[in-house]
Symmetry: C2
Subunit: 333 residues, 2 copies
């Protein structure tokens, strides 16, 4: 059970200590980019000193923001550490004089070797290993950001975060049990659909994004999109009819009312049977600090939604990771 | 033909002159949010002094970024000036002491009255009026940002932008003629589809976003998503089969190679007949400055794509604006 920052993370924070960065860039691709969205929400809420941008790694290299330079910090993430775009982004950031921190599963990977400070994390579903979610990509990113903020703005975030992370894995296990029946019911309804949308706001938007593009599209070939809960009312809501299928993530952060409004619309103009709502308020998050809960809810959502994806896979006769037709199968892409 | 900054824009720039802002927030909803994405690209490329965030208006209010304060500038946009979320965001920004600039068609609207400095722009498709695109939402936003940068960083952007904008409307007219046959062909192919995706990167991503959510979803009820050209390879590309229908925007900015790579994949693993490519390199942009062209290409794309939407509407027997079932028809949303 986690009780202190991991040693590699501590080393990175020590190296960053005393430096005043004008800007923090969070850079990755796909699922690894999605966690950066939650990281930025955390930073926006708590930091008055860091400006923060999120970019897809190739966009970052080509866009080459003029603010990128020696007084900036670039945090990158790639699960395998082999993502070419992310390695290229790390090298680009170093060429511009920025300090680089790289999160990856494999400390011998190209990303780990490219950055100034590699940090390890753990993953479960894509590796088949049982892990403590405190050490997942989200968990490690939050610890890093809390450490950066605490060193500059005296937020006292790290202590509360560590206590809360120590209660995360049990909360996830409880959520798996609590959602099992609901997932069974909705998997039968959603399996034959052509399109399934995800909807969220604030700290949970990244989880919705990853689920839409890395699970529903990548592994199930559904048509999908992660719709921001308020942007929903400025166009996307017109697709809603009685058959429209949505996964709605109701977080506990300051933007909760946005997703509640969208949920209410969906239930009124769509059909309750096709709206799968995961509500942070129904989770047992015992032991977590009240002001940290909103940031950990997306991890619970995302972890449990993997189970839902496997349920869909069973009904659709889709083999998930092994069923992809292009990813990791084409040498030229 | 435009030859100088509009008077209201000049007044806003004068009011902002001499103030050093730590942060620029670009805030709006839906189609008005999409232009902010291009604005941020322009700013990222040219400004070392402005950090810049884009937020949906309701997200902005609830997230309440800690950096928002008296040394920040908030630029908002709403076509009617009646968008409740955007008016709320303007009031929130003023409560936090920020300077506010609001872009809208109607200078007597709630947004115009809420902000410190209202700026007018013009719109064509949603109003039925013929306009000079120099005065469109994109055109006015670029003029504002160029003026802000020039006053602080001596970029000389405004002069080149004004000259380029004076050549924009003729370039759009030429593009309409150049694309007419292609749109005819693709409308017949796309009309019976269930899902149509848009794909872009860099300065053109916002145009793809607006087309996906405000046109294809809102007015045609297609399933859709604006897919970032590199994110495409980290999940979404798995949906590609011979029937997959994409609109690909190939801009002229620094990220062009990202969209070229995605286009090549789509043509190889999808079907050329279902990939509608709009390529900035095939446009006649005569008279525009080379380094401004990349920012104006998305306006040409978006304007011409409206014509494509009307072609689809004809074949699908959909009345476009009048055919929406919820937007502006429900009193409670």
């Amino acid at each position: 059970m986690i009780s202190a920052l991991p040693a590699d993370l501590e080393r990175a924070l020590n190296a960053a200590a005393g430096r005043q960065f004008s800007h923090l860039f969070l850079v990755a691709c796909g699922g690894s980019l999605s966690i950066m969205m939650a990281g930025k929400y955390f930073l926006d809420r708590h930091s008055g000193t860091f400006a923060c941008d999120i970019y897809n790694a190739d966009e970052f290299v080509c866009r080459d923001p003029r603010r990128l330079g020696p007084d900036t910090l670039v945090v990158l993430c790639s699960q395998t550490g082999n993502t070419k775009e992310t390695v290229r982004a790390a090298n680009h950031a170093k060429d511009r004089g920025a300090m680089t921190i790289g999160m990856t599963l494999d400390q011998t990977s190209p990303l780990a070797r490219a950055v100034d400070h590699p940090i390890a994390y753990q993953a479960s579903y894509t590796t088949g290993k049982a892990i403590d979610a405190a050490y997942s990509n989200y968990g490690v990113l939050y610890m890093l950001l809390a450490g950066l903020i605490d060193a500059r703005e005296d937020g006292g975030l790290t202590d509360d975060l560590l206590i809360s992370l120590s209660h995360l894995q049990p909360a996830i296990e409880r959520a798996h049990r609590a959602y099992a029946d609901r997932f069974e019911t909705f998997a039968a309804r959603f399996a034959p659909r052509e399109a399934i949308y995800t909807l969220a706001s604030g700290a949970s938007y990244g989880a919705a994004y990853s689920y839409a593009i890395c699970v529903l599209m990548e592994m199930h070939w559904y048509d999908s999109q992660a719709i921001h809960a308020n942007e929903f009312f400025h166009g996307p809501f017109e697709v809603v009819d009685r058959d429209a299928s949505f996964v709605v993530l109701l977080g506990l952060d300051e933007t909760r009312s946005l997703s509640e409004r969208a949920r209410d619309f969906l239930i009124k103009y769509g059909s309750r049977e096709n709206i799968l709502v995961l509500d942070g308020a129904e989770l047992d998050l015992g032991g977590m600090s009240e002001h940290i809960k909103p940031y950990l809810v997306p991890l619970v959502f995302f972890d449990t939604l993997w189970r839902f994806a496997y349920k869909l896979a069973g009904l659709r006769d889709r083999p998930m990771l092994e069923g992809r037709r292009y990813m990791k199968k084409l040498s030229d892409y």
